[in-house]
């Protein structure tokens, strides 16, 4: 992490796949440049010693918050399905995950 990092087109292709996004070759090149520029800015954190510092994931230090009522209102089936692109028998129709080669 100490030397300047360059994103390659292959790096971008890999994270595009992780992000479930399809990019054109031109976009892959564009993002490789953008990511390299962004990393230049974020690598300044190396200047700070954080050896004995704990992470703060959440600023108000709340833990284990539970809802205090038993019954809550939820969406009806009709409401839940209202924005779906495709439904069948009152259920969402999903796309297959085994055919696209990424499974």
């Amino acid at each position: 992490m100490t030397q300047k990092q360059e994103f390659t087109i292959e790096d971008v292709r890999k994270i595009a796949q992780l992000s479930n996004l399809s990019l054109t070759e031109a976009e892959l090149e564009k993002y490789a440049v953008m990511f390299t520029q962004t990393l230049d800015h974020i690598n300044v954190l190396e200047e700070l010693n954080t050896e004995n510092v704990t992470e703060t994931y959440q600023v108000n230090n709340l833990t284990n918050i539970f809802y205090d009522k038993e019954n809550t209102t939820t969406l009806s089936q009709t409401e839940a399905l209202a924005n779906a692109s495709d439904t069948k028998d009152g259920l969402f129709v999903t796309t297959g995950v085994f055919e696209n080669g990424n499974a």
Partner: protein
């Protein structure tokens, strides 16, 4: 207030006239809708205008006022007041897009807590305002639909991401507005549009139903014509919410009475040299120096502070924001709602992919975990500062509203523009941004930043500041600015 058009009124002024029976909610609402008709084709603040619904709600409000008289406001403190709302707040039955193509056509089946509370308080929704898509930006230029223009000069940006709301307030196309800030998205556009914005502490206002950007810093809040109006809105929207487990349980003060408890003259205010000794545009520096001199004359005690370099906050924010975005936007699959992932714009793709990288095995410790450790250092840095002073004063933005098109110049435009807001956002602190003058016809703003959950203190500072000067009374002359 007699020489003002109705749409130019503040909330407090509107309530006075409504209570005196001198105006009706329908008249007030129509005045705002007329202003939208007249100028929004140039400003482009609104994505959706809920005209019929607004007029219907205004009629209902007038009927309640007719029936209950002054008592109508006991349970509905904002009865009859029309407002604009950023399009990332879910509004049941009203299209909510977060200015993104992927959510185009999405009709939420539920209401966000903030808009529900406003509805319960009697406020009237005029429409949903433009923003950077998913709030990813500081100019509204990453909106997948169109760019909002700054009412002070339509060749400049209103800022963002709550730029549509800020422009709507500055152009008097509503009485007040609602936005959200992750790091700068309320204060930045409030500054560039010459209005007042409150960025509440993280967890003070519920995020339920707000389309998530970075869940560990997202903070909904008001953009309004005065700090007093911001206090009135905060009274309604702040508080614990069972639907958002990160909301703070501590009691909500009556922010309208904040000046009873604090006075600028007895507060010690810190000015971090790291917030001043940066590249401030000439006009901004002049106005900030004038403001500090003005406040010194008024009797405020200042102390210079030595804090962490803001460049670390830019880095921390960039990592946390992209990591959380990659997680939050992963849920959009086009199956349950919205369009397919091909519809994501350039900026959303940029952020999701970089976030996937900083969270991925082998890089998590180097980026995400490291950023969370530096966040601890930033929080400690503020804690140290607040042992020495009560409040921090700083410029809100380092520059005046730049020309439209600015965001194309750098993949980190927003992060660099919001440099003076990122440290306090990462630490979850509240701040009020107030206008402190104009330079070359564009507004300049200062911000008061306080310790966590010190909304009462920062609002008191903002309210008192506006009692001793008139900068917040300046509004753009739209007849002139939109005819260029």
């Amino acid at each position: 207030m007699h020489n003002k058009n109705l749409n130019e009124l503040t909330i407090v002024e509107s309530l006075t006239l409504l209570k005196e029976g001198k105006i009706s909610s329908v008249e007030l609402t129509k005045a705002c809708l007329d202003q939208i008709d007249k100028y929004d084709n140039k400003i482009k603040a609104y994505i959706t205008v809920t005209r019929d619904l607004a007029l219907e709600q205004a009629q209902t409000a007038d009927a309640q006022i007719q029936q209950l008289g002054i008592n109508a406001w006991d349970s509905q403190p904002l009865l009859g007041i029309p407002y604009s709302c950023k399009d990332n707040f879910s509004t049941k039955g009203i299209e909510t897009t977060a200015s993104s193509n992927i959510l185009k056509g999405y009709i939420p089946p539920y209401e966000s807590t903030v808009t529900q509370k406003l509805k319960d308080a009697g406020a009237i929704l005029l429409g949903k305002t433009n923003m950077d898509a998913f709030a990813h930006g500081s100019s509204t230029e990453t909106s997948d639909f169109f760019t909002t223009k700054n009412p002070w000069n339509v060749s400049t940006t209103p800022g963002g991401s709550s730029g549509g709301t800020a422009a709507a307030v500055a152009a008097n196309m509503c009485i007040f507005g609602i936005g959200s800030e992750t790091a700068g998205s309320i204060r930045g556009p409030a500054a560039w549009c010459g209005i007042t914005g409150l960025k509440p502490s993280y967890g003070r206002v519920s995020r339920y139903g707000v389309i998530a950007m970075a869940s560990s810093t997202d903070s909904p809040g008001p953009l309004a014509k005065t700090a007093q109006d911001c206090a009135l809105i905060a009274n309604i929207i702040a508080g614990k919410d069972n639907l958002d487990a990160t909301t703070a349980d501590s009691p909500v003060e009556n922010y309208l009475h904040s000046t009873d408890h604090y006075s600028l003259k007895t507060l010690k205010i810190g000015i971090p040299k790291q917030y001043i000794n940066i590249e401030l545009e000439d006009g901004v520096r002049t106005k900030i120096e004038d403001t500090i001199a003005f406040l010194k004359d008024y009797g405020v005690t200042f102390k210079e502070l030595d804090m962490l370099d803001t460049k670390y906050s830019i880095a921390v924010y960039t990592i946390l924001q992209r990591s959380e975005v990659s997680s939050n936007l992963a849920r959009l699959d086009g199956i349950r709602y919205g369009q397919t992932r091909d519809s994501f714009g350039t900026e959303a793709r940029n952020r999701m992919m970089l976030g996937a990288y900083t969270l991925s095995a082998g890089y998590y410790d180097a980026y995400y975990a490291k950023a969370q450790k530096v966040r601890t250092l930033i929080i400690e840095d503020f804690a140290k500062a607040f042992k020495e002073v009560d409040l921090i004063l700083a410029p809100t933005m380092p520059n005046l509203a730049p020309k439209v098109g600015i965001s194309e110049s750098s993949p980190l435009f927003g992060e660099l523009a919001d440099v003076l807001q990122e440290p306090s956002s990462i630490a979850g602190l509240p701040a009020v941004a107030v206008p402190c003058g104009t330079y070359n016809g564009l507004p300049v703003s200062i911000q008061f930043i306080g310790p966590r959950l010190s909304e009462e203190l920062v609002l008191a500072a903002g309210i008192e500041y506006q009692k001793i000067n008139t900068h917040h009374l300046n509004f753009p002359d739209l007849e002139r600015t939109t005819n260029v």
